[in-house]
Amino acid sequence: MGLSSLEIYKKLPQTNCGDCGHPTCMAFAMQLAEDKASLDECPDVSDEAREALAAAAAPPITDITIGVGDYERTLGEETEIFRHDKTFFNETGVAISVSDAADAEAIEERVEQIDQLTFERVGQVIEVDMVAVTNDSDDAASFKEAVEIVADNTDRILILVSEDVEAVENALEVVADRNPLIYAATEDNYEEMTEVAKENECPLAVKGEDLNSLAELAEKVKDLDYENLVIDSGARNASQVLADQTVIRRKCINDKFRPFAFPTITFASGETPAQEIAQASTYIAKYAGIVVLSETVELSEMLPVLTVRQNIYNDPRVPVTVEPNQVNEIGEPDEKSPVIITTNFSLTYYSVEGEIPSDAYIIPIDTDGTSLLTAWAADKFGGKKIAEIVNEETDIGDRVDHNKLTISGHVAVISGKLEEESGWDVVVGPREASGLTNFIANRWEDELEA
């Protein structure tokens, strides 16, 4: 049921009537907490108690779907305050804003620029996934026009930023099927805005003045029977955003506070790209469901933001790996450069890579991301396997005119088998990567001639 005995007990009528078959309300509460009884057994239970118990069974943060097709994604559904406790699940959506006050050509140009913000990093595609169209013109017709231009020029998720119900309604005529986020319902417009969101079945952002007014407003919207929500505490100053984001996440996880049980949207308010990037990175690390930037569209500026997101949302329970079974060049190696064999556990790989003083080849063997000794002990770093990978999956034989593979001294024991299976000579290098500088400077020449 999710609630503790004490919480349940406080919501029971405390009549101790015994009609539920348990001697006291306290005993009944303890049975309920252990799922050994049903609330229906109590004749006097209040609606409030029923709701509280049902809410406790729900996840602390609801999942909200936004966008369609390739760009459709889930926000929210988080369960952690710190990623090392388990993991963060659904990446922060990164949006860049486009103003409807610009002329058609400028809008088109900016959207094209945004649409190019796709990168490949460590084998994964990372990209800006949302475009926020802002109704700066205060004119419903211009807003609709701008939204249409944006929609025609990108498949990315749309956020319609306008507190004018008519403007949003008009814009939805052309893009409702893209499942955009409507931003935002406020104290003044929430009834109509919620109606519009409901009709179009689009997610709706609820914007408060501060945390208290946000909680009240979210409850009012929920009372209108709409829970497809994203929330905004209204903070724009970085330290206040940080505080609000933290309170929202903690209230959800620790106290199961239902008015905040939704993904959040935040806005970077910095005046320069550098400030915006710093703010966006902070909000990504601190629980933002969506972060909207307005100043920043350059490739060089967005790559760090997207890299932060990729790293923060990386699952810490899974070892980080590098692309295995390929030849990586360090510096400008030639046919006389050493060939170093290691594993694809990123900690191991980069320890080796970082210690190489000059030109060399490294081949990370796929060990499921385990370290050298772990892989060796688990039979994932044996002579036969390495031989197969080196000879059949890489072209290292064509790149060097020597026939020497260098392995760590920790696994010297595999050298016989590796030589036998691969046809290469095995050089047993230093045990620790820190010895590579010395090895390459003082020993490699001799090994090469040996």
């Binding site: 503790s4 005995s5 007990y9 406080k10 303890m30």
Partner: protein
């Protein structure tokens, strides 16, 4: 792990004598020794040698806190003595203890609330120590609900599921372990749990081995605190090790020393 050092108890001859003679020295010596060994609280019990009066408890608290910063666990059934101790105590004291008996809670819990103190709640009432985990948990729940109703935060509450000696009440130990697990789920945040550890091995052979083995087992199911012999080096080593294995403390090679320095 919160360790409540048990040594300042009039039951021990040196302490009994010291109290009788109003000699602070042996008491302060043990206060320092226990704190240095890792004790977070110092239990103070007048013992059988002199009458358990408010004046003696007050004197004990002052003598201890003159020498060390550690808070004191006021170990007495005399409510006036508790209040006298609380009046002179600096920082947040601990009251040892109340049971689930309504009149007992009625007299102790208001003091806990008033002085922002901690309190040990024994999972029993006037019918004695329950045999099974279920009844122990029900008694704990009564204390929890009562404390909560008085605005006492759960972190100030230490539920003691009451361990009995394994030589004469062997079947109680597993019930106690189960009770600890259940009590931790009764409220969110959960109340603390505590054991009077030495009880488990009374009149047994290998007392210290029994103590530390049981303590580690209890920690594994959620024990937060223990009244024990803080100067039993092996016991503290076992606690420090259990903290590491439970991922409560971050491992380092000198974890045994680090635990004592906390």
């Amino acid at each position: 792990m919160i360790i409540i050092g048990e040594r300042i108890n009039g039951m021990f001859n040196d302490i009994g004598e010291a109290i009788k003679n109003e000699d602070p020295e042996p008491i302060q010596e043990w206060a320092v020794k226990q704190v240095e060994a890792g004790a977070d609280y110092l239990d103070a019990n007048v013992g059988p040698a002199v009458e358990d009066s408010p004046e003696v408890m007050k004197w004990l608290v002052e003598v201890i806190q003159d020498e060390v910063d550690a808070p004191v666990a006021l170990d007495t059934t005399n409510v006036d003595a508790i209040e006298a101790g609380l009046e002179v105590h600096e920082g947040s004291a601990m009251i040892n203890s109340t049971t689930a008996q309504p009149e007992k809670m009625e007299s102790i819990l208001p003091l806990v609330a008033e002085y922002d103190a901690n309190v040990i709640g024994l999972a029993m009432d006037k019918s004695g120590v329950p045999k099974d985990a279920e009844t122990r948990t029900a008694k704990a729940m009564e204390i929890i609900a009562n404390a909560d109703a008085r605005g006492i935060p759960m972190e100030n509450l230490f539920i003691d599921p009451l361990i009995l000696p394994v030589n004469v009440a062997q079947d109680h130990a597993p019930e106690v372990l189960e009770t600890i697990q259940r009590v931790k789920k009764l409220a969110d945040p959960a109340p603390n749990t505590v054991l009077g550890l030495s009880n488990v091995s009374q009149n047994c052979n290998n007392m210290k081995l029994i103590n530390r083995t049981f303590l580690v087992m209890a920690m594994a199911v959620g024990l937060d605190s223990v009244i024990a012999e803080a100067n039993d080096e092996d016991l503290i080593d076992a606690v420090a090790t259990a903290e590491i294995v439970l991922n409560n403390d971050v491992y380092c090679d000198s974890f045994l020393n680090q635990f004592r320095k906390k």
